[in-house]
């Protein structure tokens, strides 16, 4: 048992390490310890914000991050942020250093868990062994991560199975990865069976969450609800369970209950910006204006330290204030937002639209119109700044200003861009009801959806008839009409790729394929057919798809 570890390990001299702690003495100690283990490249950060900046600018092999970092972000928030923004390579080892072994570990239990916890103080030898073990683990899953990144889920699954046989010591991680892969691949039945088998080994939060998600994805919302509730009963710190439960209840149309769950969640963990925003949204919907105002205000406040900062927090707060008979205050919030997001064009669109709503409440239709015109000018120049939320607000203002034609045009654009999204369709329906566009509205909406279906079917028919040239031209036109429709873009890419498969590669057509696929990915990174399309693309060319970072 008595190894001598006094000689530094050569292989580690090229590994990049980041040390994060607000306690400078500890950094000095750790630096010495790491140096004596053979590490040479050691960067430091003294607070959460600095840590995120460092991780953004350099790819580290190891991050050692203390949980308590003083004011600002804590270690868990750093981890969530860099994972959420995909700044952290899946091959980077992230170790959370804590002073004790309790609460904080559970908080990240399900989704954003570090690779390892280190409880202070620890010896050099403990650190060395943990690093060695984790490097081994990362090395063994490197092949899976590569395939996952490339969306080659079947191949990733095969490697995963192979590794479960070869490296049983990493069983827990590999099983978790397998569950993720099955869901990503869309093999819901198989995933269902898998999670069921796992549940006989123990009630792991990640497996229960997976089970809930599968039920949700297959529309068994009551089942999903039961699982999430059970999970929360067993451990009230698993925040993802609250979020998923609220989402499920919303799907079931039980809005007050969804709000109640989110209120419980913010009680446990009040710092999460996104959750506060969601609470604000649903409370506003439930006309619980006090709760909505509190939640949005908190979101704005916490957002200052967070990657989840969004203009939606400000526009939401402004909306609540407007409904609460204080549109002037709302306008002030929006001015603050405009300063905060002055560099971000899509945000400015949203803020302008929200301002128009406030001006309408203040009975200032001219100023409202000015904001609308400003927003539309940007949208016309850059259609990517348009999204359903912006469109809804635009339409609302236009319709209540009496500009029914333009307002309806926006609603139509939302519906036709998202003709398969039931939530969006029902939101539009509700708005029509509210603005008394009902009778004609219902029928008009159905027709708009049918038109897209017909359009797509015609294209598919052309593809099937084998007249690919015509099909390509047809879909190209369709994507011009509906640039934000996932299905149309996906089929446009598909038709082009079938053609290229038969005729051999043509660079300009491949560029078009890449554009369509990128659009689908931007609109919905989890679009179910995307992996299949990507795999066809791979057979045509080696050129990397723009959104993929390479894992080496």
């Amino acid at each position: 048992m008595n190894h001598s570890h006094d000689e530094p390990t050569k292989a580690w001299s090229r590994k990049k390490v980041l040390l994060v702690d607000d306690f400078r003495n500890f950094i000095v100690t750790m630096r010495n310890m790491l140096a004596s283990l053979g590490f040479v490249i050691i960067d430091t950060a003294h607070n959460g914000e600095e840590a995120v900046d460092r991780i953004m600018s350099r790819r580290y092999d190891i991050v050692l991050c203390d949980y308590n970092l003083g004011p600002g972000k804590d270690g868990q928030q750093v981890l969530e942020e860099v994972k959420q923004r995909q700044l952290l390579s899946p091959l980077t080892i992230f170790m959370m250093v804590t002073a004790e072994n309790s609460l904080e570990m559970v908080m990240g239990a399900a989704e954003y868990q570090p690779d390892e916890y280190l409880i202070k103080p620890f010896t050099k030898q403990v650190l060395e062994k943990k690093i060695r073990r984790l490097m081994e683990k990362k090395e063994s899953i490197r092949r899976i991560e590569k395939k996952m990144e490339a969306m080659e889920y079947q191949e990733a699954l095969e490697i995963c199975e192979e590794l479960i046989g070869q490296h049983p010591q990493h069983l827990a991680d590999l099983l978790k990865i397998k569950g993720d892969l099955l869901i990503k691949k869309g093999a819901y039945e198989e995933a269902q069976r898998f999670f069921h088998e796992i549940s006989s080994l123990g009630k792991f939060p990640w497996a229960l969450l997976g089970q809930g998600r599968i039920n949700y994805l297959q529309g068994r919302y009551e089942e999903a609800e039961k699982i999430y509730r059970e999970l929360i009963r067993a451990n009230d710190k698993i925040m993802a369970a609250y979020d998923e439960l609220a989402k499920t209840l919303t799907k079931l149309g039980r809005f007050p209950q969804a709000q109640e769950i989110l209120m419980q969640a913010v009680e446990v963990s009040p710092k999460a910006v996104r959750r506060q925003r969601e609470l604000g949204e649903i409370a506003l919907r439930n006309q619980d204006l006090d709760t909505a105002q509190k939640a949005y205000s908190r979101a704005v406040k916490e957002g200052k330290f967070s990657c989840y900062k969004s203009p939606d927090d400000y526009t939401g707060l402004a909306k609540v204030l407007a409904e609460n008979a204080a549109p002037e205050k709302g306008l002030k919030v929006l001015q603050e937002a405009a300063a905060e997001f002055s560099q971000d064009v899509p945000s400015l669109v949203r803020i302008s639209v929200a301002k128009s709503v406030a001006f309408m409440k203040m009975n200032k239709p001219e100023q409202a119109r000015k904001e609308i015109d400003a927003a539309m000018k940007i949208i016309n120049k850059d259609p990517a700044t348009f999204n359903p939320a912006v469109g809804m607000d635009l339409a609302r203002t236009l319709l209540s200003q009496g500009d029914g034609k333009l307002g309806r045009e926006f609603l139509r654009r939302i519906v036709q861009s998202n003709h398969e999204d039931e939530t969006i369709l029902s939101n539009v329906k509700e708005m029509c009801k509210e603005l008394k566009l009902e009778g004609e509205g219902e029928k008009w909406l159905e027709e708009a959806v049918e038109e897209v279906v017909r359009m797509n079917n015609e294209g598919v028919r052309l593809v099937q008839s084998g007249d690919l040239k015509t099909a390509i031209r047809y879909f190209e036109k369709a994507t011009e009409t509906l640039p934000e429709n996932k299905l149309i873009n996906a089929n446009a890419a598909y038709a082009l790729m079938l053609y290229l498969k038969a005729k051999g590669p043509e660079p300009d057509k491949l560029t078009k394929v890449r554009n369509y696929l990128s659009r689908v990915h931007r609109l919905d990174a989890d679009y179910p057919d995307l992996p299949k399309l990507v795999s066809i693309y791979r057979q045509l060319t080696q050129v990397q798809l723009p959104w993929m970072k390479t894992i080496d």
């Binding site: 239990a109 403990v126 062994k129 010591q169 069983l171 080994l201 792991f204 710190k237």
Partner: protein
């Protein structure tokens, strides 16, 4: 000062502990460096430094436990269950204790199958074992043994020694004591808080209608005391 502005004494203690722990951490790591240097130079105080390291670790464990109990009082103990390789976990416990084992010339044997996996909260269970080991040093003659196996739907983790065994008041047959305050005796000098915490952790592990428990006896294979943790 009115009622609302008075600080809760428990909160004061908790925040002081946090602060103290930082200092202890510094001392611990500095001492570790010194011990290593001292070992290389073959100086006479080498053994004393090991002893210091051990005592500091005990101090630290005590504080960690206090913090955990403080939190357990505010909210129920949450367990973070995952599937773990027992060999990995137990090697980790041993690594943490290696300096002391060496300094005291204690021979530690690990009896654990490579392919043994179980579901439990690793942080909590490793914490318990670390504590038990820390105690066992003081009483063992020169041998310790850690065993892991599964039997009858339980994972059974044992820590045994070849010392004089546990005193009668500590013997425990596996049931959760009706009144835990009885086993916490401040008079004997041993507060029993470690034991109390172990019981909480064991009982927090549940499966269907079974829950974890602890057995303390003097019938180990090495002839001394044996501490056994049963996890469903």
């Amino acid at each position: 000062m009115d009622e609302n502005h008075r600080l809760d004494f428990a909160d004061i203690i908790a925040s002081t502990i946090h602060d103290t722990k930082n200092t202890i951490g510094m001392i611990f790591n500095t001492l570790e460096e010194m011990t290593a240097r001292c070992g290389r130079q073959g100086c006479a105080h080498h053994q004393d430094l090991f002893l210091l390291q051990y005592e500091i670790k005990r101090l630290n464990n005590g504080l960690i436990r206090l913090l955990a109990l403080y939190k357990a009082q505010k909210v129920p103990l949450s367990v973070n269950i995952n599937l773990h390789s027992l060999r990995d976990c137990l090697e980790e416990v041993i690594d943490q204790n290696e300096p002391v084992l060496i300094s005291r010339g204690i021979d530690l044997e690990l009896d654990c199958p490579d392919d043994l996996f179980w579901s439990f909260d690793k942080g909590l269970v490793v914490g318990i074992l670390d504590n038990v080991l820390n105690n066992a040093y003081r009483y063992t003659k020169n041998r310790l043994k850690i065993t892991a196996k599964k039997e009858g739907g339980y994972l059974i983790l044992g820590v045994e020694d070849n010392g004089p065994g546990y005193p009668p008041g500590f013997i425990m047959d596996g049931s959760f004591p009706e009144d835990m305050t009885k086993s916490v005796s401040f008079l004997t000098g041993n507060t029993g808080l470690g034991l109390y915490f172990s019981l909480l952790v064991a009982a927090a592990h549940r499966r269907e209608n079974r829950r974890g428990y602890i057995r303390i006896a003097n019938d180990g294979a090495l002839g001394g005391g044996i501490f056994t943790l049963y996890l469903p």
